[in-house]
Symmetry: D3
Subunit: 130 residues, 6 copies
């Protein structure tokens, strides 16, 4: 059975590899991309394949993390969304999507893993309301 992958969007390659490694160790499947355009294209090719989005805010040229999340939520309204950022956090109250998590850098990996687990568990509650 395929539980889908965490789509990780981060333009600093060392951080991206670090996160990818930790998530795989924890049992998640991971799709790692460097730019917002790639993230959106990957998602659009097969939205069912993406179980959650973990994205930086400033990801070089092109769409920001805010844009990427908003696009994906139009297709999958219950997609778990976690934003990671150092200085972008102050825009979360106006540019973030509902039921998303804003984790400020620097963070430790348990924050990401626990955040993803909680969002996935509450999404299941949405699938079977009660």
């Amino acid at each position: 059975m395929n539980s889908g992958a965490v789509l990780v969007v981060e333009d600093e390659s060392l951080i991206l590899l670090d996160i990818e490694h930790s998530l795989r160790e924890a049992g998640f499947e991971v799709i790692a991309v460097y730019k917002g355009d790639n993230a959106i294209a990957t998602f659009d090719r097969n939205p069912d394949r993406v179980a959650a989005l973990l994205t930086d805010i400033r990801i070089g040229e092109g769409p920001t993390g805010w844009d990427v999340a908003r696009h994906m939520r139009t297709v999958n309204p219950s997609l778990p969304v976690i934003y990671m950022s150092g200085d972008g956090a102050e825009d979360w109250p106006s540019l973030g999507v509902p039921n998303s998590l804003m984790i400020t850098k620097p963070f430790v990996m348990p924050q990401i893993i626990t955040g993803l687990a909680n969002l996935l568990n509450s999404q299941a509650g949405l699938a079977a309301p009660g």
Copy 2:
């Protein structure tokens, strides 16, 4: 527009009238019944008509509050459910349904009104996940 009614099930008529009056004053529409059988029959006639269930546990002969709630949840999985009881509360952890509220008697009406409002508001969140 019709937002549906709160179906109140309570076999002590003074308490039932009291609750019905307070809920109507607060702006809710109310269907008041004395027995579990009537509650189930009323609901089955038109499930869309029932926005929430507020039920005592021991309601004379026939189905208990536990039975009534379970029946309605098979038809409407996101139905807000509040149980009221003096001594039945200890069975809630095994006989209650998920995402329900157990309010022990004696209570004050703000507990019921706030409880209903919270459950209706989170149900809306279920309707539009995110």
Copy 3:
């Protein structure tokens, strides 16, 4: 002491008056406007005056409820936000702001009053973290 007003934005005047009356009865101060432009202008004149936003989504010409909320959150990141809508609810997961409430029409006033109270109470928690 002035606790600020609830800024209510709704283009159907009967609904607007109804909400305004109920909120005043409950003890809230209310500023009622019909259009998104007026809402934004009123807010910009004195942001400190607005304790919470309660807005319909489709409010005639001009800014939508999504736009109004987003604008106000750039100035006041902890502003309580409640959206009301019949069919706009499906856009909340992508166009709503974090920590907002989406209440689908038809609703009963206790949902609005309890929703506002909860958001104001958790905002106080933000003011004094712990």
Copy 4:
């Protein structure tokens, strides 16, 4: 049946009377006192009589709201506690008790009523865990 009273502690008599009136209108039973000493003495005479505590922080001479709440929690660990304050809020993270609500002045009465209802409802959940 007696559901107990809300013990309200506030040294400004106009505010105290206002709160007492609103709470009674909402259906709560109220014991109103001006000073921390009286609050503690009243509670100690019959702890079962007090369903919840609503207290200002600075209440003249004698025990503060922080002291009053802490005393009552040693006797009733699940007592709902709401603090009201203008400038005392910044001490809540170090001097408040767990599972308490800090409501900053100025506030509107629905905040108090909804806060009390929520705490009473979750206390019932503590009485019948599950």
Copy 5:
């Protein structure tokens, strides 16, 4: 010190061994059984030994996961309960117990570990209400 074990009930042995291994690696003690009857018998022999229940819904012949959880909750009302299921999730709103978690297959182990940790932590809150 003995913090009790997670009682895991799953009729597919590969999945059961997988879960048992991951939980042990995370620091949990595990009792693994294949059938509802065994689960109930094991629990009844020494209820204090079981810190949490993690159960599939369809577990071959005999009691379902719904039955197993309900039985255990009559003895230990605050027992953390997590259900795992592919297609049984739609019955959770009517057949599940309050304060339980429904995790739909396929899932990743962090969902189970985080779910168990959260339920155990909130159970402690029940033990010392406040």
Copy 6:
């Protein structure tokens, strides 16, 4: 970037080393101390260095865990606080600080890791309200 350390206070050295090891494995930085005095001194030297407090209640002579947490919260009102205790748990409702976690011994490490992650994630929400 430095995300700060978890300050762990525990007077039984085997337990302290065990916790320190598990937290480091999970990705946390750790400062381990045996006594309340050391904890307070370490914190006072550089409060920014401490991202969270994890403390036993009875820690030999000197300040208790209750005292340590209260002191740190006067300097950092949003500091995540987790208490660990066997028999001290019954005092948490009167001596604990708001938004703290009380974990009763014996516990498993996922409870601590998940508890810390949740508190750190909600603290971020406090940093960027919305």
